[in-house]
Amino acid sequence: MIHRISGILSNFDNLSRVYAVLIIIVILGGIISIPSMEYQGDRLYPKTIDRDSPLDPYDRGGEPFERTEVLAEYPENSPELGFTTAYLTPLAIALATTTPHMGTTIVAHPGGIIDEILYVTRGLDTVVETAILFVAFAMASYLYRRRDDE
């Protein structure tokens, strides 16, 4: 019995599988406990979510800008300049008008949610995030250049 378990654990090809099973167990246990949690939104941006909007989870509500001070090179290309949705690509606009369940994915990751909410007061976080990107970039460029050498 012990031997069989250790046989599975010793193969690192199973690594991601073992880890995924652990996460699934915790999350299944966690889903049961969700009703006991309370939402405390004091420090988050106030927002009223309009469930009918095509941009549902990303439509932050609030006063929309009517006019911005930003000068655009080609104003005709960005008719919604100043809105949070100013930069939707044609594909994103098409998605947004057809279904309320798809949109940009910036907040699809839990980290993205915190970022979006808390950037104002948390300078160190932005520094660390940039550092992570920098490290990733350094690794990528190193690997790429090494391939060139060989």
Binding site: L9, S10, N11, F12, D13, N14, L15, S16, V18, Y19, A20, L22, I23, V26, I27, G29, G30, S33, I34, S36, M37, E38, Y39, Q40, G41, D42, R43, L44, H109, P110, G111, I113, I114, I117, L118, T121, R122, G123, L124, D125, V128, E129, A131, I132, V135, A136, A138, M139, Y142, L143
Partner: protein
């Protein structure tokens, strides 16, 4: 309101630095850990890597592998970055900041072994990289849950209040396990066959320290 240092978990407060919403602090516990990190960063900076002994197949001969200098420089850079990230994770007083540093440790760990040419090592590093990416979900998810249920991410505010749900704590621990100790080290052991003692040592070192810090956080909040 209960303070962090009234909790009898980690000893007296030595020093704290207010830095916007993020207040890093040293207690006896985190101070000792931070001192160790600094010692290991110094070792990584000043120590040259070892030369592994290899046995020539089919005979009694053995030879020492040579150290490839550009690869060594890259590993050293990554090891120092890893040490810096670990130091940040040790002293920070904020949960989201801690998770960010943990992610940085995870990515630099892969960077350290990226210089290795050994196929098995790179294979294991690939598997480990997948787990490290997976692990960001529970890690940030735990932080997001804490923010949503308590309205705060600061360890100072959360200390002793007992309002953080068990799920968030479990997710945090699981996330650090993924970033640092890939479950039971099955991937780690292979990764660590790579050459370069002070740098490879840093992989192990950073994940153990992350684990120690997350235990302190989970006990305090």
């Amino acid at each position: 309101m209960i303070q962090v240092f009234d909790l009898n978990v980690e000893g007296r407060e030595l020093f704290s630095l207010s830095f916007g919403d993020i207040v890093p602090y040293f207690s006896v516990y985190t101070g000792a850990l931070a001192a160790f990190v600094i010692i290991f960063i110094l070792i990584a900076i000043f120590s040259l890597p070892e030369r592994q002994m290899n046995i020539a197949f089919g005979g009694d001969a053995y030879y020492a592998k040579e150290v490839n200098v550009p690869d060594m420089r890259f590993s050293r850079f990554m090891a120092i970055a890893c040490g810096a990230a670990t130091l940040g994770a040790m002293v920070t007083g904020d949960i989201f900041n801690f998770t960010l540093f943990a992610v940085m440790v995870g990515i630099t760990n892969i960077g350290i072994v990226a210089a290795s040419g050994n196929k098995h090592v790179l294979n294991a590093a690939f598997q480990y990289g997948i787990v490290a990416m997976l692990a960001t979900v529970p890690l940030f998810g735990g932080a997001a849950l804490i923010l949503a249920t308590t309205g705060s991410l600061s360890i100072w505010v959360l200390a002793g209040a007992g309002v953080v749900p068990l799920l968030a704590k479990a997710l945090l621990v699981l996330g650090v396990m993924g970033e640092g100790i890939a479950p039971l080290y099955i991937g780690k052991a292979e990764i660590i066959r790579a050459q370069g003692a002070p740098y490879v040592l840093m992989i192990h070192f950073s994940s153990l320290l992350l684990f120690l810090r997350v235990i302190e956080i989970v006990l305090v909040i």
